[in-house]
Symmetry: C2
Subunit: 394 residues, 2 copies
Amino acid sequence: MSKPRSKPCLPGPTPSGSAQGAKSALDSLREQIDGIDQQLVDLLVQRGRIIQQVTDIKKRHDLPTFHPAREENLISTRRAQATQAGLDPDYVEDLFRTMLRHSRVGQLSTLSRRSVRPGAKILIVGGLGNMGRFFSTWLRQSDYEVRVLDRDDWPKVRSLTTEIDLCLLAVPIEITPSIALQIGKYLPPACVLTDITSLKRKPLEAMLRGHAGPVVGLHPLFGPATVTMDKQIVVFSPGRSLSKCQWFLDQLTLWGNVLVETPASEHDEIMGIVQALRHFATFTFGQFLCSRGVPVLRTLELSSPIYRLELAMVGRLFAQDPQLYAEIIFATPERQALLKDYLESLQKNLSLVERGDKTEFIARFRQIAEWFGPFSEQAMRESTFLVEKLVHRF
Amino acid sequence: MSKPRSKPCLPGPTPSGSAQGAKSALDSLREQIDGIDQQLVDLLVQRGRIIQQVTDIKKRHDLPTFHPAREENLISTRRAQATQAGLDPDYVEDLFRTMLRHSRVGQLSTLSRRSVRPGAKILIVGGLGNMGRFFSTWLRQSDYEVRVLDRDDWPKVRSLTTEIDLCLLAVPIEITPSIALQIGKYLPPACVLTDITSLKRKPLEAMLRGHAGPVVGLHPLFGPATVTMDKQIVVFSPGRSLSKCQWFLDQLTLWGNVLVETPASEHDEIMGIVQALRHFATFTFGQFLCSRGVPVLRTLELSSPIYRLELAMVGRLFAQDPQLYAEIIFATPERQALLKDYLESLQKNLSLVERGDKTEFIARFRQIAEWFGPFSEQAMRESTFLVEKLVHRF
C-alpha cells in the first residue's frame, strides 16, 4: 500500500498525491456530487409538476389512479437502462418504486374524493367513535350525505333512517349483533346494512335477521390513524343481494382499498390466529419484559436489527388502544380454547428444553421448516430487505 | 363533474377536452416523465462514477469510508432544497438515504480489504464451520495469513500455533470452554485469544484460565450469510490486556462493524431475553401453526401488512440452521428457568382471559404501556415506516 508522500512538484505516472492533495481532490469530487444531487432534486420537482397535470386530467375524466401495467413497464425500462450503464438494477428499481409510490399517494389524495354515488345518504351508527369518525370524514369528502347515530340519538332514529341508502355499524364488537337487530326495524327495504367489526359470523347473522334488504359484512384491516387508503385491505363477507351492495365496495376500491372476499366462518377462524393469538402472544412478551424490569434500551444496543424489529412489534402494541385489543382477544369461547391450545404447545416445547432433548428439538424444527415450504425463504428475503431499510434509516 | 364531450372544434375557455383529447394529453405528459426518468438514471450513473473516484482516493490514503457528518449535511441540504421547491422533504430524504447506502456499501466492498496488520498470523479453531469459513474469507481478503485447525488437525497443533498473533475460536458453544483450555497451552504469550460464541461468561473464564496473554470475548450479531459488514454489530467483553487486542477490534471497525462493549455477565443475561426467549417464542408460534395445519398463505391474503411482517419473522427462523437455535435455547440452566417463568406469565394472562376479566387486562395493558414509555411511540413510527416499505415492495 502506498504511503502518503510530500507534495508532488512534478507531474508523474504514480496515481497518488500528498494527503493535502487527496483532500483537495476529494473536495472537488464532493462539489461535483453536490451539483449532481441538486440536479436530481430539480428533476424530481419537474416530475412532480407533470404528475400534477396527469392527476388533473384523470380527475376531469374519471380515469383510474393506478396503472399497474404502466408502472411495471416503467420499472423494466429503467432497470434495462441501469444495467446497460453498469449500475445495479435493483438499486435503481428501489429508487423508482419510492418515486412511484409517492406519486400514487399524491394522486390518491386528490382523486380519492371522487364519489361512486354522490349525494347518497349514509347513516353511521357509532359515528362518534374513532372508526365512525374516520369513515364519516372519508364519506363526506366524497360528497355523501352523512348522518350520525350515537348512544344518545335513539329518540331520533326514525328521522335519521328516513330514505337512507346505507347504514354502517361502527360500534364495539360485543354490541354489534344487538344493535343490528335494533336498527334493522327502521331501515328502508332497499337500504344496504353493513358493519366494520373484526368478527364476521355473529354480526352477519344478526344483520340478516334484523334487516330483509341487502347485507354485507366488512372488516377493514387498518385503524383510524391511517392517512392513506392506498393498498389497505378490506375483507368482506357477503350476506344478501351482493350486487346491490356493490356500489359501496366500488367506493372503497376507488379510495385505494384492496377488497378480499371470504365466508364469515373462514374469516373468524383465521382472525383467531392472525389477531387474537398474535396479539395475546405479543401482549405476554411485553408484560414479561415489564415484570422482570428488563432494560429495553440496553437490549436494543446489544442486538441485531432483527430483534429491534421484533421489539418494535411488541412496543407498537402498547402505543394503541387497550379496549380494542381486549375486545379482539376476549371475543369468543373459541378464541379462549385456541389460546389454551397454544399454552399447551408451549408447555410441551418447554419440557423438551428441560429434558435437554436437542435431537427432538432439531427434528421438530426440520419438520416445521418443511411444512412452511418456500414461505420461509420468502420470509427470509422480505425480512432481510426490511432490516436493511431499518438499519439505514434509524 | 364534467362529462366527456365530443371532439372540441373550437378553442374555448372550458378546461376539459374529449376522452381522446385526454388520452393524447396523458400520452404526451407520460413521454415527458419518461424523459425526466431517463435523465435521472443518467445522473445516477455520473454520481456512481464520481464515487468510484472518491473510493480510489480513500483507498490510496487509508481514509475512512464513512463520513456521518457529511451524510447528515447532505441530507439536510437536499431537504431544504425540496421544501423550498414545494416537494415533501421526507420523500426526498428517503431517496437520498437509499443512494447514500448504495454508495457506502459499494465503497465498503472495495475498501474493506484494507488491513490493520497485514501479514499477521491468525489461527481459526473450527475454521471449517460456517462462521469459521466466513471469518477466514474476510481475513484472507485483508492480507492476513490464515491457518485453520479443525477436528482432525490436533496432531499438527504445535506447528499451527507457532508464532501466531491471534487465535479465534469458532467452535460450537458447548465445547468452546474446553477447547479454550486445550489450545491455551500452545499459544505464544503475546498472542490474542478470542471467541465468537453467543455466550460470554463461561467461554471468557475458560480463555482466561487457559491462556496467560491478551484475551477478549466477541459476539458478532450476524450469521455467515451476511454479505456486508456495514453497521453490523459486534459485542465484545474485555478479558485481559484489552489494549493488546485493540488492533483486531480496529480491523472489525475498518470492515464496517459497530463495536459495543459489555461485561460478560450483562451480555449473557440480556441474550437470554434477546435470543433464547425470543427464538423459543417464535419457534413455538411456528410449531403451533404447523400442528393445526393453518393455511399460511390464506392468512396472508386476509391480513394487514403488520401481520405479514410478524409472520415473516416466524418464517425466517425456519429458513435457518436448527443446530444454532438449539444451542442458543438449550445453552444454560438459567435459560431454562427464564423460559419457565415466561410460561407462568402466559398462564396467568390466559387465566385472565378465561375469567373474562377485561378490566384487569386493560389495567395491566396501561401499566405496561407506561413502563415502555416513549419507546412504544418510537416502535410505532419505526414499524409503520417499515410496513409502508413492505406494502410497496412486495
